[in-house]
Protein backbone atom coordinates (compact mmCIF):
# COMPACT_ATOMS: atom_id res chain seq x y z
CA UNK A 1 0.00 0.00 0.00
CA UNK A 2 3.03 2.24 0.02
CA UNK A 3 2.00 3.95 -3.21
CA UNK A 4 -0.91 5.46 -1.29
CA UNK A 5 1.60 7.38 0.78
CA UNK A 6 3.37 8.82 -2.23
CA UNK A 7 3.11 12.54 -2.66
CA UNK A 8 2.31 12.06 -6.34
CA UNK A 9 -1.26 11.27 -5.38
CA UNK A 10 -1.50 14.64 -3.66
CA UNK A 11 0.08 16.39 -6.61
CA UNK A 12 -2.32 14.65 -8.97
CA UNK A 13 -5.36 15.65 -6.90
CA UNK A 14 -4.17 19.26 -6.68
CA UNK A 15 -3.43 19.41 -10.39
CA UNK A 16 -6.75 17.95 -11.51
CA UNK A 17 -8.80 20.15 -9.19
CA UNK A 18 -6.95 23.31 -10.22
CA UNK A 19 -7.06 22.45 -13.91
CA UNK A 20 -10.81 21.91 -13.72
CA UNK A 21 -11.33 25.32 -12.13
CA UNK A 22 -9.09 27.12 -14.60
CA UNK A 23 -10.43 25.37 -17.68
CA UNK A 24 -14.08 26.03 -16.88
CA UNK A 25 -13.31 29.70 -16.35
CA UNK A 26 -12.11 30.17 -19.92
CA UNK A 27 -14.10 27.51 -21.77
CA UNK A 28 -17.71 26.41 -21.55
CA UNK A 29 -18.07 22.66 -21.60
CA UNK A 30 -21.19 21.69 -19.72
CA UNK A 31 -19.97 18.35 -18.38
CA UNK A 32 -16.79 19.88 -17.00
CA UNK A 33 -18.64 22.85 -15.51
CA UNK A 34 -20.92 20.46 -13.66
CA UNK A 35 -17.89 18.55 -12.43
CA UNK A 36 -16.28 21.79 -11.27
CA UNK A 37 -19.38 22.75 -9.32
CA UNK A 38 -19.48 19.33 -7.70
CA UNK A 39 -15.83 19.66 -6.69
CA UNK A 40 -16.55 23.05 -5.19
CA UNK A 41 -19.49 21.70 -3.22
CA UNK A 42 -17.22 18.96 -1.94
CA UNK A 43 -14.58 21.51 -0.99
CA UNK A 44 -17.16 23.47 1.00
CA UNK A 45 -18.06 20.26 2.78
CA UNK A 46 -14.41 19.47 3.53
CA UNK A 47 -13.86 22.98 4.80
CA UNK A 48 -16.72 22.42 7.21
CA UNK A 49 -15.05 19.25 8.46
CA UNK A 50 -11.78 21.09 9.11
CA UNK A 51 -13.59 23.61 11.31
CA UNK A 52 -13.62 21.03 14.09
CA UNK A 53 -9.87 20.41 13.90
CA UNK A 54 -9.09 23.44 16.03
CA UNK A 55 -11.28 22.15 18.84
CA UNK A 56 -9.71 18.70 18.63
CA UNK A 57 -6.16 20.03 18.80
CA UNK A 58 -7.11 22.28 21.67
CA UNK A 59 -8.47 19.32 23.60
CA UNK A 60 -5.34 17.32 22.87
CA UNK A 61 -3.09 20.11 24.11
CA UNK A 62 -5.16 20.57 27.26
CA UNK A 63 -4.99 16.82 27.92
CA UNK A 64 -1.21 16.82 27.60
CA UNK A 65 -0.88 19.84 29.84
CA UNK A 66 -3.04 18.31 32.53
CA UNK A 67 -1.02 15.10 32.31
CA UNK A 68 2.23 17.01 32.80
CA UNK A 69 0.63 19.27 35.44
CA UNK A 70 1.87 22.26 33.45
CA UNK A 71 1.22 25.70 34.98
CA UNK A 72 -1.07 26.64 32.07
CA UNK A 73 -3.20 23.52 32.49
CA UNK A 74 -5.88 25.30 34.46
CA UNK A 75 -6.33 27.90 31.74
CA UNK A 76 -6.55 25.24 29.06
CA UNK A 77 -9.22 23.43 31.04
CA UNK A 78 -11.14 26.69 31.25
CA UNK A 79 -10.92 27.05 27.47
CA UNK A 80 -12.23 23.51 26.99
CA UNK A 81 -15.09 24.10 29.41
CA UNK A 82 -16.17 27.23 27.55
CA UNK A 83 -15.83 25.40 24.26
CA UNK A 84 -18.09 22.57 25.42
CA UNK A 85 -20.64 25.07 26.67
CA UNK A 86 -20.75 26.68 23.24
CA UNK A 87 -21.07 23.33 21.45
CA UNK A 88 -23.85 22.06 23.73
CA UNK A 89 -25.92 25.24 23.53
CA UNK A 90 -25.38 25.26 19.77
CA UNK A 91 -26.88 21.80 19.45
CA UNK A 92 -30.09 22.69 21.30
CA UNK A 93 -32.77 22.91 18.59
CA UNK A 94 -33.25 25.03 16.56
CA UNK A 95 -29.67 24.32 15.62
CA UNK A 96 -27.44 27.34 16.29
CA UNK A 97 -30.43 29.51 16.95
CA UNK A 98 -31.46 28.67 20.48
CA UNK A 99 -31.74 31.56 22.94
CA UNK A 100 -28.93 30.08 25.04
CA UNK A 101 -26.58 29.94 22.09
CA UNK A 102 -27.41 33.46 21.02
CA UNK A 103 -26.90 34.63 24.59
CA UNK A 104 -23.41 33.15 24.69
CA UNK A 105 -22.60 34.56 21.29
CA UNK A 106 -23.87 37.99 22.19
CA UNK A 107 -22.28 38.28 25.61
CA UNK A 108 -19.09 36.25 25.40
CA UNK A 109 -17.97 35.61 21.83
CA UNK A 110 -18.86 38.98 20.33
CA UNK A 111 -17.37 41.20 23.06
CA UNK A 112 -14.08 39.30 23.44
CA UNK A 113 -13.56 39.13 19.72
CA UNK A 114 -14.36 42.75 19.02
CA UNK A 115 -12.52 44.11 22.03
CA UNK A 116 -9.40 42.29 20.92
CA UNK A 117 -9.67 44.01 17.57
CA UNK A 118 -10.45 47.28 19.23
CA UNK A 119 -7.18 47.03 21.17
CA UNK A 120 -5.45 48.05 17.99
CA UNK A 121 -6.58 51.59 18.70
CA UNK A 122 -3.85 51.77 21.34
CA UNK A 123 -1.17 50.06 19.35
CA UNK A 124 -1.82 52.18 16.29
CA UNK A 125 -1.57 55.33 18.38
CA UNK A 126 1.70 54.36 20.02
CA UNK A 127 3.12 53.01 16.77
CA UNK A 128 2.15 56.25 15.05
CA UNK A 129 3.94 58.18 17.73
CA UNK A 130 7.02 56.16 16.90
CA UNK A 131 6.69 55.54 13.17
CA UNK A 132 5.82 59.03 12.15
CA UNK A 133 9.12 60.59 13.04
CA UNK A 134 11.14 62.36 10.41
CA UNK A 135 14.31 60.37 11.02
CA UNK A 136 14.96 59.87 7.32
CA UNK A 137 13.61 61.27 4.08
CA UNK A 138 11.56 58.11 3.57
CA UNK A 139 10.00 58.48 7.00
CA UNK A 140 9.29 62.13 6.24
CA UNK A 141 7.33 61.14 3.12
CA UNK A 142 5.33 58.63 5.13
CA UNK A 143 4.69 61.22 7.82
CA UNK A 144 3.42 63.90 5.47
CA UNK A 145 1.22 61.57 3.44
CA UNK A 146 -0.10 59.90 6.58
CA UNK A 147 -1.04 63.24 8.11
CA UNK A 148 -3.01 64.32 5.07
CA UNK A 149 -4.82 61.01 4.90
CA UNK A 150 -5.67 61.22 8.61
CA UNK A 151 -7.50 64.47 7.95
CA UNK A 152 -9.08 63.18 4.78
CA UNK A 153 -10.82 60.35 6.53
CA UNK A 154 -11.77 62.09 9.77
CA UNK A 155 -14.59 64.60 9.31
CA UNK A 156 -12.67 67.08 11.46
CA UNK A 157 -10.18 67.61 8.61
CA UNK A 158 -12.69 69.54 6.54
CA UNK A 159 -13.65 71.60 9.58
CA UNK A 160 -10.05 72.65 10.12
CA UNK A 161 -9.35 73.48 6.49
CA UNK A 162 -11.22 72.13 3.43
CA UNK A 163 -7.90 71.91 1.60
CA UNK A 164 -6.72 69.07 3.83
CA UNK A 165 -9.14 66.42 2.53
CA UNK A 166 -8.75 67.79 -0.99
CA UNK A 167 -5.00 67.19 -0.92
CA UNK A 168 -5.50 63.85 0.78
CA UNK A 169 -7.95 62.71 -1.88
CA UNK A 170 -5.55 63.80 -4.59
CA UNK A 171 -2.75 61.74 -3.04
CA UNK A 172 -5.11 58.78 -2.79
CA UNK A 173 -6.29 59.15 -6.36
CA UNK A 174 -2.94 59.60 -8.09
CA UNK A 175 0.45 58.74 -6.52
CA UNK A 176 -1.02 56.21 -4.11
CA UNK A 177 -3.09 54.49 -6.80
CA UNK A 178 0.03 54.22 -8.94
CA UNK A 179 2.13 52.71 -6.19
CA UNK A 180 -0.70 50.42 -5.11
CA UNK A 181 -1.09 49.11 -8.66
CA UNK A 182 2.62 48.47 -9.00
CA UNK A 183 2.71 46.69 -5.67
CA UNK A 184 -0.29 44.48 -6.31
CA UNK A 185 0.73 43.55 -9.86
CA UNK A 186 4.00 42.29 -8.41
CA UNK A 187 2.29 40.33 -5.66
CA UNK A 188 -0.17 38.86 -8.18
CA UNK A 189 2.71 37.64 -10.34
CA UNK A 190 4.37 36.11 -7.29
CA UNK A 191 1.11 34.38 -6.41
CA UNK A 192 0.83 32.93 -9.90
CA UNK A 193 4.42 31.72 -9.65
CA UNK A 194 3.80 29.88 -6.42
CA UNK A 195 0.52 28.47 -7.75
CA UNK A 196 2.40 27.05 -10.70
CA UNK A 197 5.12 25.60 -8.48
CA UNK A 198 2.50 23.89 -6.31
CA UNK A 199 0.72 22.50 -9.38
CA UNK A 200 4.00 21.10 -10.61
CA UNK A 201 4.63 19.51 -7.23
CA UNK A 202 7.70 21.60 -6.54
CA UNK A 203 6.54 22.92 -3.18
CA UNK A 204 7.16 20.13 -0.73
CA UNK A 205 5.68 22.08 2.14
CA UNK A 206 2.28 21.85 0.49
CA UNK A 207 2.34 18.52 -1.26
CA UNK A 208 4.23 16.55 1.37
CA UNK A 209 7.55 14.76 1.09
Amino acid sequence: MSFLRSRYINVAIIFIAAFLMIFTYFFKVQALSDAATLVQTTVSLFAAFTLALGAMNLTLIAYRQVQKKAPTALFSVLAIAVMLMMIITGLIPPLMNSPQFNWLYNNVEAPTDSTMYAMMVFFVASACFRAFRARSKEALVMLVVGSFIIFTYAPIGATIWPGLPAIGSWIEKYPMTGASRGFSIGVALGGLGIGLRILLGREKAVTGE
Partner: protein, 208 residues
Protein backbone atom coordinates in the same frame (compact mmCIF):
# COMPACT_ATOMS: atom_id res chain seq x y z
CA UNK B 1 -32.23 38.42 34.82
CA UNK B 2 -30.24 36.80 32.02
CA UNK B 3 -30.08 40.09 30.18
CA UNK B 4 -28.53 41.86 33.14
CA UNK B 5 -26.09 39.04 33.78
CA UNK B 6 -25.17 39.04 30.11
CA UNK B 7 -24.54 42.74 30.14
CA UNK B 8 -22.27 42.39 33.16
CA UNK B 9 -20.27 39.54 31.64
CA UNK B 10 -20.00 41.49 28.42
CA UNK B 11 -18.66 44.53 30.25
CA UNK B 12 -16.28 42.59 32.50
CA UNK B 13 -14.75 40.72 29.58
CA UNK B 14 -14.36 43.95 27.64
CA UNK B 15 -12.56 45.63 30.51
CA UNK B 16 -10.41 42.55 31.16
CA UNK B 17 -9.10 42.64 27.63
CA UNK B 18 -8.53 46.39 27.63
CA UNK B 19 -6.48 45.86 30.79
CA UNK B 20 -3.80 44.31 28.57
CA UNK B 21 -2.93 47.86 27.49
CA UNK B 22 -3.45 49.66 30.78
CA UNK B 23 -2.00 48.56 33.20
CA UNK B 24 -0.48 45.58 31.33
CA UNK B 25 -0.63 41.80 30.97
CA UNK B 26 -2.42 40.34 34.03
CA UNK B 27 -4.46 37.40 35.26
CA UNK B 28 -7.82 38.82 34.13
CA UNK B 29 -6.55 39.33 30.62
CA UNK B 30 -5.24 35.79 30.63
CA UNK B 31 -8.58 34.36 31.67
CA UNK B 32 -10.31 36.37 28.95
CA UNK B 33 -7.69 35.20 26.45
CA UNK B 34 -8.45 31.54 27.12
CA UNK B 35 -12.20 32.11 27.17
CA UNK B 36 -11.85 33.71 23.76
CA UNK B 37 -9.86 30.76 22.42
CA UNK B 38 -12.40 28.26 23.77
CA UNK B 39 -15.51 30.02 22.59
CA UNK B 40 -14.35 30.58 19.02
CA UNK B 41 -13.28 26.96 18.75
CA UNK B 42 -16.70 25.85 20.01
CA UNK B 43 -18.53 28.17 17.64
CA UNK B 44 -16.62 26.75 14.69
CA UNK B 45 -17.49 23.18 15.62
CA UNK B 46 -21.20 23.93 15.64
CA UNK B 47 -21.02 25.90 12.42
CA UNK B 48 -19.13 23.02 10.80
CA UNK B 49 -21.80 20.58 11.94
CA UNK B 50 -24.52 22.71 10.46
CA UNK B 51 -22.83 22.92 7.07
CA UNK B 52 -22.21 19.18 7.02
CA UNK B 53 -25.86 18.64 7.85
CA UNK B 54 -27.21 21.06 5.24
CA UNK B 55 -24.76 20.32 2.47
CA UNK B 56 -24.04 16.64 2.99
CA UNK B 57 -26.40 14.70 5.19
CA UNK B 58 -29.80 16.13 4.33
CA UNK B 59 -29.28 15.94 0.50
CA UNK B 60 -28.08 12.39 1.04
CA UNK B 61 -31.23 11.53 3.00
CA UNK B 62 -33.43 13.11 0.37
CA UNK B 63 -32.22 11.01 -2.52
CA UNK B 64 -28.76 12.20 -3.50
CA UNK B 65 -27.09 9.07 -2.17
CA UNK B 66 -23.81 9.89 -3.87
CA UNK B 67 -23.20 12.59 -1.24
CA UNK B 68 -22.11 9.77 1.06
CA UNK B 69 -18.82 9.66 -0.84
CA UNK B 70 -17.71 13.23 -0.14
CA UNK B 71 -18.80 12.87 3.48
CA UNK B 72 -16.61 9.80 3.95
CA UNK B 73 -13.70 11.55 2.22
CA UNK B 74 -14.23 14.56 4.46
CA UNK B 75 -13.90 12.36 7.52
CA UNK B 76 -10.37 11.52 6.32
CA UNK B 77 -9.37 14.98 7.54
CA UNK B 78 -9.38 13.56 11.05
CA UNK B 79 -6.91 10.78 10.29
CA UNK B 80 -4.14 13.30 10.94
CA UNK B 81 -4.24 12.34 14.62
CA UNK B 82 -3.13 8.82 13.75
CA UNK B 83 0.51 8.10 13.03
CA UNK B 84 -0.32 5.17 10.78
CA UNK B 85 -3.04 6.70 8.62
CA UNK B 86 -2.10 10.36 8.95
CA UNK B 87 -1.15 10.55 5.27
CA UNK B 88 -4.79 10.01 4.29
CA UNK B 89 -5.68 13.44 5.66
CA UNK B 90 -3.58 14.94 2.88
CA UNK B 91 -6.10 13.91 0.23
CA UNK B 92 -9.02 16.12 1.18
CA UNK B 93 -6.55 18.89 1.92
CA UNK B 94 -5.05 18.42 -1.55
CA UNK B 95 -8.48 18.83 -3.14
CA UNK B 96 -9.06 22.01 -1.17
CA UNK B 97 -5.63 23.39 -2.02
CA UNK B 98 -6.01 22.56 -5.70
CA UNK B 99 -9.46 24.05 -6.03
CA UNK B 100 -8.41 27.10 -3.99
CA UNK B 101 -5.41 27.75 -6.19
CA UNK B 102 -7.44 27.17 -9.32
CA UNK B 103 -10.21 29.62 -8.52
CA UNK B 104 -7.85 32.28 -7.28
CA UNK B 105 -5.23 32.25 -10.03
CA UNK B 106 -7.62 31.86 -12.93
CA UNK B 107 -8.90 35.41 -12.57
CA UNK B 108 -5.63 37.04 -11.52
CA UNK B 109 -4.44 37.88 -15.07
CA UNK B 110 -7.68 39.70 -15.72
CA UNK B 111 -8.48 41.39 -12.41
CA UNK B 112 -5.09 42.18 -10.99
CA UNK B 113 -3.06 42.58 -14.16
CA UNK B 114 -4.93 43.36 -17.40
CA UNK B 115 -7.63 45.58 -15.93
CA UNK B 116 -5.04 47.48 -13.94
CA UNK B 117 -2.89 47.94 -17.05
CA UNK B 118 -5.89 49.12 -19.07
CA UNK B 119 -6.82 51.60 -16.36
CA UNK B 120 -3.33 53.06 -16.64
CA UNK B 121 -3.70 54.22 -20.26
CA UNK B 122 -4.22 57.76 -19.07
CA UNK B 123 -4.60 60.81 -21.29
CA UNK B 124 -1.72 63.31 -21.06
CA UNK B 125 -2.98 65.79 -23.65
CA UNK B 126 -6.45 67.11 -24.34
CA UNK B 127 -7.22 67.36 -20.63
CA UNK B 128 -6.69 70.14 -18.12
CA UNK B 129 -3.03 70.65 -17.26
CA UNK B 130 -3.58 69.68 -13.62
CA UNK B 131 -5.11 66.36 -14.60
CA UNK B 132 -2.28 65.78 -17.06
CA UNK B 133 0.35 66.45 -14.39
CA UNK B 134 -1.51 64.23 -11.93
CA UNK B 135 -1.66 61.45 -14.51
CA UNK B 136 2.07 61.75 -15.13
CA UNK B 137 2.68 61.47 -11.40
CA UNK B 138 0.49 58.36 -11.23
CA UNK B 139 2.42 56.78 -14.08
CA UNK B 140 5.78 57.63 -12.50
CA UNK B 141 4.64 56.06 -9.22
CA UNK B 142 3.33 52.98 -11.02
CA UNK B 143 6.35 52.37 -13.25
CA UNK B 144 8.93 53.08 -10.57
CA UNK B 145 7.18 50.75 -8.10
CA UNK B 146 7.11 48.02 -10.71
CA UNK B 147 10.80 48.72 -11.24
CA UNK B 148 11.64 48.55 -7.56
CA UNK B 149 10.60 44.91 -7.47
CA UNK B 150 13.01 43.69 -10.15
CA UNK B 151 14.62 41.00 -8.05
CA UNK B 152 17.03 39.20 -10.33
CA UNK B 153 18.76 42.32 -11.63
CA UNK B 154 21.41 44.07 -9.55
CA UNK B 155 20.27 47.69 -9.56
CA UNK B 156 23.09 50.05 -10.47
CA UNK B 157 23.45 53.50 -12.05
CA UNK B 158 20.27 54.96 -13.54
CA UNK B 159 18.32 51.81 -12.64
CA UNK B 160 19.14 52.50 -9.03
CA UNK B 161 17.68 56.01 -9.33
CA UNK B 162 14.40 54.69 -10.69
CA UNK B 163 14.19 52.17 -7.93
CA UNK B 164 14.81 54.90 -5.34
CA UNK B 165 11.80 56.75 -6.76
CA UNK B 166 9.91 53.47 -6.48
CA UNK B 167 10.83 53.20 -2.83
CA UNK B 168 9.48 56.71 -2.19
CA UNK B 169 6.27 55.82 -4.03
CA UNK B 170 5.93 52.85 -1.73
CA UNK B 171 6.37 55.13 1.25
CA UNK B 172 3.44 57.19 -0.04
CA UNK B 173 1.40 54.00 -0.21
CA UNK B 174 2.41 53.01 3.30
CA UNK B 175 1.74 56.49 4.64
CA UNK B 176 -1.76 56.27 3.20
CA UNK B 177 -2.27 52.87 4.80
CA UNK B 178 -1.18 54.30 8.13
CA UNK B 179 -3.62 57.14 7.88
CA UNK B 180 -6.40 54.71 7.07
CA UNK B 181 -5.56 52.52 10.06
CA UNK B 182 -6.56 55.21 12.52
CA UNK B 183 -10.11 55.36 11.23
CA UNK B 184 -10.77 51.62 11.24
CA UNK B 185 -9.22 51.02 14.63
CA UNK B 186 -10.88 53.96 16.29
CA UNK B 187 -14.22 52.81 14.88
CA UNK B 188 -13.88 49.44 16.54
CA UNK B 189 -12.93 50.95 19.84
CA UNK B 190 -15.78 53.42 19.59
CA UNK B 191 -18.11 50.45 19.24
CA UNK B 192 -16.87 48.98 22.50
CA UNK B 193 -16.82 52.31 24.34
CA UNK B 194 -20.35 53.09 23.16
CA UNK B 195 -21.45 49.83 24.67
CA UNK B 196 -19.62 50.44 27.95
CA UNK B 197 -20.87 53.99 28.32
CA UNK B 198 -24.31 54.00 26.74
CA UNK B 199 -25.53 50.45 27.30
CA UNK B 200 -23.79 49.60 30.55
CA UNK B 201 -22.71 52.59 32.61
CA UNK B 202 -25.58 54.99 31.88
CA UNK B 203 -28.43 52.57 32.64
CA UNK B 204 -26.60 51.50 35.79
CA UNK B 205 -26.30 55.06 36.98
CA UNK B 206 -29.84 55.75 35.89
CA UNK B 207 -28.73 58.25 33.22
CA UNK B 208 -29.77 58.83 29.63
Amino acid sequence: MWDILGNWINAILTIAIISFAVPGENIFYRIAEYIMIGITAGYAVVQGMRVVLNLGISPMMSGQAYMLFPILLGLLVYTRFSKQYGYLSRWPIALMVGSGIGVSIRAVPEVDIMNQIKASFLPLVGVNWDVAVSNIILLIALLSTLFYFFMTVEQKGPLRQISVVGRYSLMILFGAYWGSQLMTRSTMFIGRMSFLIKDFLFPMLGLG
